[in-house]
Symmetry: D3
Subunit: 310 residues, 6 copies
């Protein structure tokens, strides 16, 4: 089914993708994933685009113990994979994710070890810090990550998507900051990132304190997602088209943009400008600048320029 969606995506893109399409078909026949992850499927639907899929559909893509460490390995690999310029993240099956797999993780969280109270706390802190890293790797990875959500996105799912760069969803998607319902304050990123992601703090507080569901319309109007699509097929096509736009541009420009956007979020404007100037004192010397300038003069689009790998 997924391969059909991807095919549609290319079909809609007016032939531009046709050479890529062949490659995808080949990859698909050779099996979807070249990786050995058990909770993630990693494929290359088109040149320079990596597709990471949360792949436990039979468990509603719940986040198991394996998931938390596989994410770190997966994104650390992507971070240094010169063949990848942009990542699409989505969920396999009928929904995005039902959040943390409480059964599988109960021992970590509900029965932490330690000889006394302080030692139990010490170990819990180590666990939480490890789990936080699971989503922080998305942010540390310099390649932009487009996340595409369909159906429910619950609890840990919201932590995950707030660490991505661009958020898309389907009409039937809904989002729920569920943690307060199970007696804990969200501790792997939602409380830190959501207020930066959407424009209304009143809404952030309401969502985090009441655990109510937010549907796609509200998610669009508050800025959580930047686009809503009628269904998953259309969304994946849209995600691929957007990924294609990004992948076609200079990776020096694209990845420098992500790194500086993340840096600026956590620093004042003066700090951000200073860092940016120090960053670009070398990055402006890329050949990509001249190639792009020349293409612009020749009225060519970025997809007609060949940039070196990064």
């Amino acid at each position: 089914q997924m391969s059909f969606i991807i095919r549609s995506a290319f079909a809609k893109n007016r032939g531009l993708w046709s050479p890529v399409l062949g490659a995808v078909r080949t990859m698909s026949s050779a099996g979807d994933s070249t990786s050995s992850f058990t909770t993630l499927s990693v494929t290359r639907p088109a040149d320079s685009i990596t597709h990471v899929e949360l792949n436990r559909p039979e468990k509603r893509n719940a986040m198991s113990r394996a998931f938390w460490s596989e994410m770190v390995d997966c994104f650390n690999e992507i971070a240094v994979d010169a063949e990848c310029r942009v990542v699409i993240f989505s969920g396999a099956g009928k929904l995005f994710t039902s959040g943390i797999d409480l059964m599988d993780m109960a021992s970590d969280i509900l029965q932490p070890e330690g000889d006394d109270q302080a030692r139990v706390s010490w170990n819990l802190r180590r666990v939480i810090t490890k789990y936080q890293e699971t989503f922080s790797v998305i942010e540390k990875c310099p390649k932009p990550v487009i996340v595409a959500v369909h159906g429910p996105c619950i609890g840990g799912g919201v932590d995950l998507i707030t660490a991505c760069d661009i958020r898309l969803c389907t009409q039937d998607a809904w989002f729920q900051v569920k943690e307060v319902d199970i007696g804990l304050a969200a501790d792997v990123g939602t409380l830190q990132r959501l207020p930066n992601v959407i424009g209304s703090r009143s809404l952030v507080s309401e969502l985090a304190l009441t655990a109510r569901k937010m549907y796609s319309d509200e998610a669009k109007s508050c800025g959580l997602v930047s686009r809503v699509f009628p269904d998953k097929e259309a969304m994946m096509a849209g995600a691929l088209e957007m990924a294609g736009e990004i992948a076609a541009r200079s990776p020096v420009a694209v990845q420098g943009t992500k790194i500086n956007l993340v840096y600026s979020r956590d620093h004042g404007v003066t700090e951000g400008l200073n860092y940016m100037a120090t960053w670009n004192m070398s990055m402006l010397q890329t050949h990509d600048l001249m190639k792009s300038a020349q293409a612009a003069i020749e009225k060519k689009g970025p997809k007609e320029v060949i940039f070196s790998k990064l």
Copy 2:
């Protein structure tokens, strides 16, 4: 009239509130407020919910000298009141507040004491800092505060509501950052908190520099309020329902969520995650987590679980 509204609120909530309703009625007959404040009325409309009302309707709820210190006492009490899990703040009478009571406060601001210029300034700074504390206590109080605005909310009123967690208003509400009209830069919180509260800086600047009124529709679309209700009765019912949702959840989770949301606003994401991990290393050990998990398995809602006081 207020008691009628509260009754309606419960009536609309499909019987869920009926046991609580009796308690409220009793409280009302015994007098609205158990406190000795002259500018605030403090009641308990339902279990674990404290209702603080700005109560100088004959003065358009203007903020008098007494108000500025009573707020500090009131919220410091609430902060350690284990019976209270969530606060609703509203204005008595026909409007929310007309802002600072210039007549009453003239001596503090217009005729500050001091033997020379530096000493006058020194005393003024002490006064401003004290006034800032009036609204900062709302933020330091770990219980979430829902503010419900009807009619005008002017000057100091905007400072007040930006320090609350969730903002609701009626269709006829309007907001005005009035300070520039009386020759001063807003100094008790609006300039600091409003840009965090709504998503458009261009709008913040326009409001603060021109003192124009913003009506409920725009307040909703820019994210200042998260919901607009047709009238005060409906709003108070909505506030009570929302407060009920929050009060029913684990206070460890709810108050930890507020504390970390406030912390994250003023710190970068990395800082926020570190603080969160250190916070939750003990808070995750609450029995509320197990109780909530069990309730979830048994398909019970949070209102069916009994959590210890905090």
Copy 3:
């Protein structure tokens, strides 16, 4: 044509502006600009209002080498010009700006000097820092700056407008973070300021990574601009009206508001409140406060009060 627009603006303002109108007419007949800038036109359409126009219409208002340094001189002059209380910034001719003038600036950016790699980088950093200052002066200037955009606003244009305080645009305006298309990460302010300016980070990332155009409707709904006007004439009238509102208010209040809004953006709330209290310990002693209070009692508007220059 511009003078016609300005006349219309005053005409629409119900006679309020009529004395000012004469002054403008005189200025216009005496030549639009009293300054000696080659890329900027600086006029005074009304009392206390300075109009800075990006004035290279034959070059689509592209930002040439001269522009980058003239902006610094221009806004440094405005910063200490007691006759100016508010600034309107717009573009002459058919569009706002096509962004950086690559041809004119190629030597700075594409052929930087230096004996080895480190020295080239060193010089580039000096250039970037100088260019950043071009827009930072807008922010450092204590007078509010209203920017009015019509038609395309591309690349450096977005850097420029995000450093202004209030953003208006026409129905036919569009915005494009173009830098990624020419192989570089935007380095003179967009990546630092845009995320503070609009409410949705997902949208910021999308715009900066794909270089897609954003039209006026979306610009309004995401908060980039606070108002959209049908055409340039209406927009300039609106800008003048808004500028008039601001210019009529106490400059101590207005400029203190801008300075503290900028300060608060880059600091936590506690820091911002401390700075504000220290700021106002002297500023509250302005006579403007008493004048404004008295006017309010006498039901006069701010335009009927005479404030000293600042």
Copy 4:
């Protein structure tokens, strides 16, 4: 005995203090302390100088529950006492302090209340925060505090003295960061302030991790104290002389200096300069500046100038 020391102090100061001396003698005969504190004695040994003495000599000046709250009241009073321009803090009896009174405080720390782990932690955090405030009030009080240490200064004593502005000690004084010996990380200020107070981090770590004693010589050479005196009498005389020097100067200058030194410790230099400029824009207008300038021209010392109270 103390009054003898004070007398000596004045005697040594070449007659300068003689008028003051009479006042002190009177105060002494009227009883040492005008306050109602049980753990602190507060006197006025000379004009504008407040002497706070840790006054439980029979308990080795151990810090009891009463002490922790009396300190807050005491320094909050001093902060707004216009008669006080400088504070001397010392210990009554044979030593400065043996630190926390574990017996008296056991219930707070060793048997905190709470229905489950999270609630116990919650209450402990409230207690720690309250105890931290005990020493932070010294820092928030704008009057400079000179602390004079004789004999042992253990545990909480080190937390206390690091919050003071100037540290003096006797030859027989020694200092011990004792907390690690009773199984806890020092949590009321030592770990935060000591590294700012002395120049060698290696030494800070050694002291905090091994709980070894540091004697007066090392305390002087590492910068913990700025002067060592042969005995308590000489130290008290020295403290009074230094306090006299400070009290004789403009309180606007002195207290502004303290406030900005504390501010600068926690902020970068750019931040500190901005705050300082905003501070002094009003404080420079004090008459003290002109009085001091005139005195300088007339070759008078600060003690010959009368400054208004602050």
Copy 5:
């Protein structure tokens, strides 16, 4: 030879160490190191004490490519090794370290890969960040690290020791911030940590800008080291004694102290106190507190108390 030194250390410690001594002797006979590192030797000279030795004496302990990654593995292991409570770090052979092994690392630094200037820079940044991590792991490891320096400590050696907690050296030790001599600004920690470590910025600048040698006397007086010993044998004995003191204390207290000292260095005092309170709300509940209190009452030293592992 090393085992002789260790024996002496124990011999000097008045029999206290005798049971431990046996264990050490056994370890020594079984080979010094249980690890598989090629540049580091890791042993356990006494209970709870880990000794890490820079072990390329034939290469003057120069830091090779292997060293940079082995350090990360080594300290990550130590961080979670419950048997280790304190670390001693020293150099094998005749000197501490001659710094970076330029020959071995030339390819990384002198011939970085990349298709154009920007890509070479990108890769270099990755390399530098990786090297920085080599010393940052020392800081992130919660166990205190005592570093013992004999003979030259050059270049990268200074980066290394500034990341340790306590610094000791021999009379013949000298330190040299060598980087400026090979044409680069020190980039793996010296410029960031040295100014926090010693008290005089003038001296820091002089050392970093002139690359002059600093001998042990000056190192002691400026606070770089906290103790100087006549020779390596005495120093190792001293290090072991100090390590024994630390290892005997509650690991909850010791490691909490280190974590909060590091945190406080990079944050203001208010921030540090908030973090400390949140940290100790759980850590104060350790049984170690009660055990220590009881031991104190019974006049026992910390070495007579058994604390659980952490």
Copy 6:
């Protein structure tokens, strides 16, 4: 006399400086200064070394109005002067400086303009900010500045020297934070920079609050200066020797070191390391690295290597 001192300096340096000496002599005969400053003399005593002398000996080098703006021009020129790699700053005549020239500056400070209190304050803030810039330019200039102090260094002199990189003084030098004596808190840098410069906060507070003199011995032991010389001649020779050492090294390394030392002072270690890595990703590609490495292999010192200008 000065030229004699310089001659001596070179004489002592064993012939190394002889070719340079000729150049100096020529410069001297042609007049000491090529600049048109009235309060500063700017010369080049040796290749790549700029000597800036505070040159109003007849006025005890008091800081007049001209001085405050000439400093900015002077150091802005030096910042981009590729011929200069290091700066020596000293005072002409019998002492370093008596501080601010109150007579000359009285109008700025004692009689500021403005129609009301707020406007006077506003103008004062502008003046203070301008004066702060006078010393901040020293810090922003990437060339290291060695300051050599003889005799008194009072008030503004301390502000000045704390902004320099390396401080030397003569035996007869003394330092006085004088501001509190004329009724103001030091506002052009001392309160911000002195606590970073010396290791003991107790001493900083004592100096700033009592305005007592500190002599050269104490200045050395507390770390304010890193070396004390018997007299001015010896000091100038020492300064020239040290400047020669610095000037001989790679300017990429030297200036990068200064920039990162200043950056690190105001940022945490993690921030500093990130900035450093971003800085060196281009700076490591300098040819100076290879030249230095080669020189090291050939046992040549830095003075035998020719580095390109920067």
